[in-house]
Amino acid sequence: MLFTSYAFIGFVLVLLVLYYAVPRRFQKLILFVGNVCFYVMSGWTNLIFMGITILSTYGAARWIGNNIDAQKAYVKAHKEELSREEKKAYKAKEKKKRKLIAALAVILNVALLALVKFPNRIFLFLMPMGISFYTLMSLGYLLDVYWEKQKPEKSLFRFALFVSFFPQLVQGPISRFKDLSESLYAEHALDWKNIYYGFVRVLWGFFKKLVIADRLSVVIATISGDFDTYNGAYIFLEMFLYTIQLYADFSGGIDITIGVAQMLGVEMAENFIRPYFSKSLKEYWRRWHITMSTWFRDYLFYPISITKTMQNFSKFLRAHFGDYIGKRLPVYVASFIVWFVTGIWHGTTSNFIVWGLVNYVILMISEELEPAYAAFHEKCIPAEAKGWRVFMVLRTFTMLCFLKLFDCYQSAGEVFRAYGSAFTFAKLDELVHGGWLQLGMSLADYVVVAIGSVVILTVSLIQRPESVRDQLSRKPFALQAGVVMALFLVTLIFGAYGMGYDASQFIYNRF
């Protein structure tokens, strides 16, 4: 189900009414039924996939939890008789069992994900909604239990509620059990502020998505769909507009997700912190799709880079090639794997895989250049200089425009062909002299996009010290009402929806 559909709005309204109308102890039940309905509306086969994930991770986590308890009880009971070595051996033996169970569950779920992600005959048309997101959520939880960072959830119902929580099924974020569970499992009284704040956040998401993203998607589809006609300078326009479009679409969707959750009294982690103000790619990845990058850091990068093998490898390198390489190489190897997997997670075609690797290469180069940068700042321009910071933001944004082009074509070859074509500056004349108006957007549409982007930019600047809603809440009532109403009306009138616009799927829906 798309966020921008009457069905979704109706669904949320009905759910909200029921959620707050029933006695509070039934709220979780209502929510769970809502999750199931939401999922079934997108195809009942989805339930099977999610069911397997829920049961396998729940079961494995429970088993591991019980094993840990049993181990502790055993050690405690036999404190006196066991020698230190015996204790260690016993613990190692038990840990091995837990490792096996955890590994089986991980393999099962990764295989399930791979099954639907890789092009194949049987599951060609089965792409269970949100499987990329809830699989990572479940696996993160399982690993936390395995690492004894998290107590296993005893109730299957409650665990299923976590995995199936509907707002995050459309396009994430990838929630952590410890972040989401507390407010998800609590009983919620109807809180005016939650409803109001959540509503405004949802509205803001719809504004980004309908007014900007969906309007731009037509142009991007036109350019990327016909390289023979739209090449050369068109590619620059495409990258630039797509970079705006993706942010508006993705962060707008997350706004809707978090806003809906807030109306239900559930707190979710933020997924974006003004990413296009980043001064480097590294910083960008701390501010863009945060729940994904931290997931890969915690559950892939750390585990790989501190394995015994990797540590030994590091020692070996140090002995033979010196400290510098010994320190760096393991990190680089682990990063490589992480970016490779991140690429595949986004899509199994070559454009996504190469995209991951290009990210990796840029990050490693800037890592290596850090001393050079430090020297440069010491001698020439201080890193804190305003002009320099602005330059770095613009530089990073330009880099992102290029990187994001990988989303627009089907293979890495096509992307590189597009780069090559762009720098011939062919068709620049045609583009400037009216070509840009032949792509599915009129001058009026461009004006709307431009003003809308300025609004988003302004809001980003205003919200730096404190959320705009908090700032607004201290203003006179008439102003508050005016702003919210204006947001609503602008979205309603200038939104690119309805007949004449393709109901474009959320871009992240595919991943």
């Binding site: 109403m485 009306l489 009138i493 939104g495 690119a496 309805g498 007949m499």
Partner: protein, 340 residues
């Protein structure tokens, strides 16, 4: 903050918002006064001062451009109205008839059967032009449900602003001028054209894979017939003399068989050229697709006696009705002479 204060504010904001939305909606919906006027036809009916029509025509452009109620009144004293709109599908005709019966019961219903060839609505734009003008009633709900094409939503009909929000790009002075008022564009549902474009060679229709009318089309044909029977209305079926879209002999056979089966009068004006005197070099304004005023006069002249035969009456002795018509005729004649 007190609950009552919050409640009052929410209500105040809500009311203000509804008011603004209403104004915006009035501004943004198409007015159909200039340019494409076909969208205004259906709504005009409700403004009629005397809805006790003896004859109701239902159908698409093949009725609203071919029969002139004004001529029927002048010549025969028949009080009639055309409930037709562009590309009006048979289910829409059925529901318009249902809608009409909420106001009065005619003696005769003339239905143009050309829409039998469509089994599904073909375009959202035509749906809009027929459905929007209808007043809300179960008939409208039924008609919308039967008409919606893929991607259309019922809600868009309830709140047209959802459909037309994007018209901010093409607003004109007329959108402001006609926000709350409108002007009649038809003459009792008749759309007057006085220009002439003679018919040239109309090619034979391309062979079709299947000439059978669809199930949905037949279903609504039956419903129209049943509705007329229930209400004691004589149903008359006609096929207008439009040369295009091509009327296949296979179509004709099916309609004739149906008319015979239920003992319904059926007139195919394509075959009655001699009797009506329609001249395709002077009586059509678009090369034979539709009649102009001259053609409509001839068809009205011909169909008048048929209507009288089937239950319509000469009501020129009704003083009140005559006054209404006198007024109507002033506007009608003025337009007829101005356009010529």
């Amino acid at each position: 903050m007190k609950k009552s204060v919050i409640l009052r504010r929410v209500v105040a904001v809500g009311l203000l918002l509804i008011f603004i939305l209403y104004m915006l909606q009035r501004l943004l919906v198409p007015k159909y006064i200039t340019g494409i006027v076909e969208g205004a036809f259906v709504a005009e009916y409700y403004r009629e001062p005397d809805k006790n029509f003896d004859v109701i025509f239902v159908g698409d452009c093949e009725v609203y451009e071919n029969f002139s109620p004004a001529e029927l009144w002048k010549e025969y004293g028949i009080h009639s109205y055309i409930r037709g709109s562009a590309q009006q599908y048979i289910w829409q005709s059925y529901y318009l008839l249902e809608d009409t019966l909420r106001f009065h019961k005619p003696e005769v219903v003339v239905f143009n059967i050309q829409s039998l060839q469509y089994d599904e609505s073909q375009s959202e734009a035509y749906n809009r032009m027929t459905l929007e003008g209808m007043q809300w009633s179960p008939a409208k709900v039924g008609s919308i449900r039967a008409s919606m094409t893929e991607g259309e939503h019922f809600l868009d009909y309830v709140f047209p602003i959802l459909r037309y929000h994007d018209r901010w790009k093409e607003l004109t002075a007329d959108d402001v001028k006609y926000m709350f008022k409108t002007e009649p564009v038809t003459y009792n549902g008749y759309y007057m054209r006085t220009d002439v474009l003679a018919a040239g060679d109309i090619p034979e229709g391309r062979p079709l894979e299947n000439y059978d009318f669809g199930d949905k089309a037949w279903e609504y044909m039956d419903k129209i017939r049943a509705l007329c029977e229930e209400n004691d209305i004589q149903l008359v079926m006609v096929k207008a003399p439009s040369l295009y879209p091509y009327w296949y002999p296979e179509y004709e056979e099916q309609v004739e068989a149906y008319a015979a089966k239920y003992d319904l009068p059926y007139y195919n004006f394509l075959e009655l050229q001699e009797e009506t005197g329609v001249d395709y070099s002077t009586d059509t304004y678009d090369g034979g697709l539709h009649m102009n005023l001259s053609g409509a006069k001839k068809l009205s002249h011909y169909i008048g006696p048929i209507l009288l035969e089937n239950g319509a009456a000469d009501r020129r002795d009704d003083a009140a009705l005559s006054r209404i018509w006198d007024e109507k005729l002033v506007r009608y004649e003025e337009a007829a002479s101005k356009k010529e």
